[in-house]
């Protein structure tokens, strides 16, 4: 039998619920090729492949969303993941990155409707994964900004760090819930070196569902997740901070970014905002209009170079 026909039928049968194969894919394949695979899929050994594939995907999703798994408990998470895996099988060979889009999916997942914080927590879990594997890059030092002349500052552009991910969560204290449910926040090894390819290291403590911690003020929160050296850090952001970073990411000047920040929060304090973001290592490049060759100004968007 032709290789392609065999693999088409095999692939289809992998994600079918057990028991459906003989009736469905076997019949389909015999129609297409003249050879029935029904008997093949009925062998007990076929379940080994199906179980390995589905379990591998579920394990990877759980490893990539440990705070979500801890919030809902192993059983709920794995049942939801089994549905997700069948709807969205991996599109890339590295399971390290599997589950892009899980937060959006949770937003539409009816059984999660009563957990309005869940997709926000999933987004921060995803930020962590992306930050963990992002390119190495020295952050812009506070001195580099401080050393920029007042005349040049409004036209300067800060590029967010390669590992920086951020968002404003308007309705839920997403970062507080995430922090409380990401295991061993004080232990750099659990956060930085957990074997994410293998599954459950970080979710091992999550045998039962854990509610958000009691002293929690229910209000919107912003979060910045960024890797500083080898360590992934999560930092709380205000609305103005998020607006500022959004403007920087869009290629805006500092003047543009400050305007955005003030639009988001009239009371925003620019120097405090800059200090906090620089301490967090939120920026990977500073470009000053009249000093394109400044050593602290790496830039990968020369096409947007500002020429006064």
């Amino acid at each position: 039998m032709r290789l392609d026909a065999f693999q088409a039928a095999f692939a289809a049968a992998l994600f079918q619920p057990p028991g459906a194969d003989a009736a469905v894919s076997g019949a389909t394949v015999s129609g297409a090729t003249g050879v029935s695979l029904a008997a093949l899929f009925a062998q007990p050994g076929f379940a080994v492949y199906r179980n390995t594939v589905v379990k591998g995907c579920i394990d990877a999703l759980q490893a990539n969303y440990p705070a979500v798994a801890r919030l809902v408990g192993d059983e709920w998470f794995r049942a939801a993941a089994a549905i997700y895996v069948r709807e969205r099988p991996p599109r890339e060979p590295m399971l390290l990155a599997y589950g892009d889009g899980f937060a959006d999916w949770l937003d539409r997942f009816e059984p999660a409707a009563g957990l309005p914080y869940l997709s926000a927590v999933a987004r921060i879990d995803r930020f962590w994964t992306e930050a963990h594997g992002a390119a190495d890059e020295a952050p812009v030092a506070a001195q580099a900004v401080a050393g920029t002349s007042p005349e040049q500052l409004p036209g300067a552009r800060l590029r967010p760090h390669a590992s920086a991910r951020w968002a404003w969560f308007g309705n839920v204290p997403a970062l507080s819930i995430w922090t409380a449910n990401r295991t061993a926040p004080g232990d750099p090894r659990s956060a930085d070196l957990a074997d994410r390819g293998d599954g459950a290291d970080e979710a091992d403590g999550a045998d039962g569902a854990s509610p958000p911690p009691a002293p929690l003020e229910w209000r919107g929160e912003g979060a910045l997740v960024v890797r500083s050296g080898q360590r992934v850090e999560a930092v709380a952001l205000g609305r103005a901070d998020v607006a500022f970073l959004d403007a920087c990411a869009a290629g805006g000047t500092l003047a543009d970014a400050v305007e955005s920040a003030l639009h988001a929060d009239r009371a925003a304090d620019f120097s405090d905002l800059m200090r906090r973001l620089l301490v967090a290592g939120a920026f990977g490049g500073l470009r000053v209009p009249d000093a394109p060759d400044a050593p602290d100004a790496p830039d990968d968007r020369p096409d947007k170079e500002h020429r006064p």
């Binding site: 693999q7 088409a8 095999f10 991996p90 599109r91 590295m94 074997d195």
Partner: protein, 290 residues
């Protein structure tokens, strides 16, 4: 490739990173799945590079899908080539299996009918892989769970012809030989004794487990147990026939302490060095180098 000699290594897991890094450079080598290090930067890559500074590392791919009826994913080949460039591994291996189709990826080593058509396709894909990596790759025999009709070749015959066409080596997984033979109800020695000595570049040893529902009539290549005694016996048999080869203790699940893996590695080393009464040249060279 000979730099590490025919000694035994262990699969490297992040949980063992500190101990692995601290271990003296006494011939211990490590193997990792490259897919777990296909990131742009960060701690994963930097700690693997730190290990690589002290110990030889081999790359054992699980996702190139060389037996798929399609060209290998060029992006995957590029990522693999980048890792090979960064890590300069002592060996690179992949599997006689497919794991992707139509843009979807299945985290397993899937079987196929070993037809002449499949051989043509796989030979082309192995050639592309070796061209992309600019090095020889060894192909591993996977575990089998299904009786499939329509094979034109037995597994070793297919692998041997693949090697003849592409120049690839063979990675002999002794546990997979045992598991497959049990599941397909044939003697394990049939395949074991047929592997051409000149093509075998590396050996894998791992543990297996009985299927939860079917018991020992269906063995699972679970990598979550110590190497089983019958597998050690097959390992001794093949080493007696072909001579020592770099041998990996594979453990991916139910991870024991690093010392437990090193004890299994010591047992494998004893088998490797017991084959020859004269000193194994590669080991001596390595000891001097260290």
């Amino acid at each position: 490739m000979d730099a590490i000699g025919p000694s035994a290594g262990v699969g490297l897991k992040p949980a063992h990173f500190d101990q692995a890094l601290a271990w003296p450079a006494d011939g211990l080598w490590f193997e990792v799945h490259p897919e777990n290090y296909m990131v742009a930067g960060g701690p994963r890559l930097s700690w693997l590079e730190a290990i690589r500074e002290r110990h030889p590392v081999s790359l054992h791919g699980v996702a190139a899908s060389l037996a798929a009826d399609a060209d290998p994913d060029p992006q995957h080949l590029r990522r693999l080539a980048e890792l090979v460039r960064r890590l300069e591994p002592v060996r690179v291996s992949e599997h006689l299996a497919w794991s992707s189709r139509g843009g979807m990826h299945f985290p397993d080593l899937l079987p196929f009918p070993r037809t002449r058509q499949a051989l043509d396709r796989m030979a082309a894909n192995v050639g592309r892989l070796q061209d992309a990596l600019r090095c020889r790759v060894s192909i591993e025999n996977p575990s089998h769970y299904l009786r499939i009709d329509g094979h034109d070749y037995d597994e070793v015959g297919f692998l041997t012809e693949l090697a003849a066409r592409t120049g690839c080596g063979l990675l002999l997984d002794v546990n997979n030989v045992f598991v497959s033979a049990r599941n397909l109800n044939v003697p394990a020695t049939d395949a074991l004794d047929a592997f051409p000595a000149s093509l075998v570049t590396q050996i894998h040893l791992a543990g297996h487990a009985p299927d939860q529902g079917l018991g020992t009539s269906l063995l699972i290549d679970s990598h979550d147990q110590p190497v089983a005694e019958p597998v050690w016996a097959l390992f001794e048999r093949v080493i007696a026939r072909i001579g020592p080869r770099p041998t990996l203790i594979e453990r991916d699940d139910n991870l024991p302490g690093f010392d437990v893996l090193l004890a299994e590695r010591a047992r494998a080393d004893a088998v490797l060095s017991g084959r020859h009464h004269q000193p194994a040249c590669g080991s001596v060279r390595l000891d001097l180098a260290a």
